[in-house]
């Protein structure tokens, strides 16, 4: 309990046994639509977590509401499926009260950027020990396909039959604007790239106070915001079918 906020995962106890991806799988049946990118994100995270070498019981996954927010049920860690947009607030309380926990927020574009936009900004700038995974599929999937704050203008959905008129929000710009200490972006289908942005930066990167924290590296940002950006789909008329898998998982991490 004496750790400071900038200790990152350095204050989380390490495991003496080597875990596997299987250790992080819960007994729950995974229920996303067939072909959804969330499956790949889940598998990648389950494969990645053992590499952190942390005690599994010191990990907590907190989510809000939406397809992405089912995530905690599928991981055998402590977890809370909370309320729409508010996961960063609950995670903040956990991280402040318990510096020995590695606290993760799993959220989506509607959850984090629309109803929970304010909490996201403040979680990033407050910089307590959190890692936020934002699954951006540019549509409200759970409620059957309304346009989201990251849908491109002109997106035709049930709630925008003539095409949406709002300009989309860029989650990476927002995270950088809020001065998140590490911002990365990857595609669900790019397992290697996704694993890379999940990993904490090397301890040597950055000044002493940021050792073991995630510090923004410009190379990551440049790469993730330019070459990895996909052309958005024109329509998102039927929720999250396979043909509408724009899902770029864009982890914005503040640690």
């Amino acid at each position: 309990m004496t750790a400071t906020m900038s200790d990152g995962i350095g204050s989380v106890p390490r495991s003496t046994v080597v875990a596997t991806a299987g250790d992080y799988k819960s007994d729950q049946e995974v229920r996303w639509c067939p072909g959804c990118g969330d499956y790949i994100v889940l598998n990648t995270v389950q494969a990645f977590l053992p590499t952190l070498g942390l005690r599994r019981e010191n990990l907590v996954f907190v989510s809000g509401i939406g397809c992405s927010s089912r995530f905690p049920y599928y991981l055998d860690t402590y977890g809370m499926h909370s309320i729409h947009g508010r996961a960063p607030t609950i995670a903040t309380g956990m991280a402040v009260a318990r510096p020995d926990l590695s606290v993760w927020v799993v959220t989506g574009d509607g959850d984090a950027l629309s109803i929970g936009g304010n909490h996201l900004i403040h979680a990033l700038r407050r910089n307590v020990n959190l890692t936020i995974l934002l699954f951006n599929n540019r549509v409200y999937g759970l409620t059957k396909g309304q346009y989201s704050p990251t849908s491109t203008a002109g997106t035709i959905t049930k709630s925008t039959p003539m095409g949406s008129v709002d300009a989309p929000l860029d989650p990476v710009s927002l995270a950088l604007g809020a001065e998140a200490t590490f911002v990365g972006r990857a595609l669900d289908s790019d397992r290697a790239g996704l694993t890379e942005v999940l990993a904490p930066p090397p301890a040597t990167a950055g000044p002493p106070w940021s050792r073991s924290t995630r510090t923004a590296r410009s190379s990551t940002l440049v790469r993730s915001t330019t070459s990895r950006r996909r052309t958005p789909p024109r329509t998102a008329s039927s929720g999250c079918g396979p043909g509408n898998r724009s899902g770029s998982a864009a982890p914005t991490s503040s640690a």
């Binding site: 309990m1 106890p13 819960s26 005690r55 599994r56 019981e57 010191n58 990990l59 907590v60 907190v62 989510s63 509401i65 905690p72 049920y73 055998d76 860690t77 402590y78 977890g79 809370m80 499926h81 909370s82 309320i83 508010r86 960063p88 607030t89 609950i90 995670a91 903040t92 309380g93 956990m94 991280a95 402040v96 009260a97 318990r98 020995d100 926990l101 304010n118 909490h119 900004i121 403040h122």
Partner: protein, 553 residues
Amino acid sequence: MHIADHDILTPGDHPDVLVAMNPAALRANLGDVPATATIIVDVDEFTGRNLARAGYTSDPLTDGTLAAHEVHEVAMTSLTRGAVAEAGLGKKGAERCRNMFALGLLFFMYGRAAELTETFLRAKFAEDRGVADANVLAFRAGWNYGETTEAFATVRVAPAVLPSGTYRQITGNTALAYGLVAAGERAQLPVLFGAYPITPASDVLHELTKHKNFGVLTVQAEDEIAAVGAALGASFAGALGITATSGPGLALKAETIGLGVMTELPLVVIDVQRGGPSTGLPTKTEQADLLQALHGRNGESPVPVVAPRSPADCFDTALEAARIALAYRTPVLLLSDGAIANGSEPWLLPEIEELPDLRVAFATTPNTPDGSTGFWPYRRDPETLARDWAVPGTPGLAHRIGGLEKTDGSGEISYDAANHDHMVRLRRRKVDGITVPDVAVDDPDDRADVLVLGWGSTYGPIGAACRRIRRAGGSVAQAHLRHLNPLPANLGEVLARYHRVVLPEMNLGQLASVLRARYLTDIRSVTKVAGMPFTVEELQAAITTSIEEIVPA
């Protein structure tokens, strides 16, 4: 300021003395002053210009405005200037000591000991000897003026007979903060207090920021929702999560309180009520959030509700809220109000080891029915129905909870109709089954026909009104509720015992409607929503009317 030789219940209805430092102050406050009051004015300030600026067309000191009063015209400005000359302040600095001259004069009139005040002034202005000297000189000059002119009636107030011990003056908000610190100590848990600034609750946050040494963490969140979210998250992580706000903030926290009800986690939510609706009257008092506290969430969402009756009582009520939250794993609402929050009274310092033991046992081993591995988050204590609480960091007990309906026991998500019906009733039964003490009735001669029932800050004026009625030979019983949900088990029997129950509330009868529905008992509501507490006179009149209807005078 209210001085008495017995315990004081209210700040008093009307002042006995008004000190008007200028014509504007006289004009602003004269309406609050009864004809029996003494008025002391700084006559140096009653210039033609000041009179005109205050809106007087003639001089109230000579035109008969104050004819009913005993008026003392004291040249306070010039007397003070002369008295503090040796301290070497400038003219302006010297004149700023007028208030101490007035205080000294009042101390003489009421026979108050001067030493403590002089010590206070020396400490307050310790960094500037001249200012300290001037304040003490002005204070003494005021006292001496009273003594030498022999123009002022003096009143002697004997010391009150109270339980022995160390007392301090405490406001409701400070007492709440201390109670929360004590709750953390007695539970041996860290306290995480999430808050967003809001009048009149912010002082609880201000006070708690000073107590990190007691394991109190404060988060000034980005909004009310984040404040309660941080508190609930901290509770999940094994701390005592607390948030404080006022009515508008409570509205914003409703969804998260519902999550606390569903996840069955400890959470203390303090609402320092103010005038509503909407932004309402932020600096004025009201008790109109009771129904919001009891019912203001979606679904069947029962939460325990407690209310302190006075500033010092905030300490004990905060401990009680924490006890219920921890023992039963539930959000608890504590309803204070502006009158209690900013009002103050003497508080007898408690012995920490005599305070209730709030320790909880976290789950540390598997609790599944077959006893093998894993954790069932909704397995319950059969007596309290509190669920097992395993905190992150405990090996082998990792589990997921959330806002979706749960299967009792295992905590698996369930959309099953029978299970939902069971869980809704179970959550209600858990709160209904919380042990709360019986309500005590103060009925000294045991022959009262009328019971005056109250909750929260009306305790003071109700108690003072009952005293006056009894002193005048009347009989009246008084009972005051700390627990508003669940209600004390004996309340129905108490209500049935009296011919009439009178219930003063600073709302339009919210508790009265709850009690009528619950007990099918008629309740006579006495309501006031003027942003001010009831005066003793108002309640004395209302209660006396009820008594006389039954027993004609």
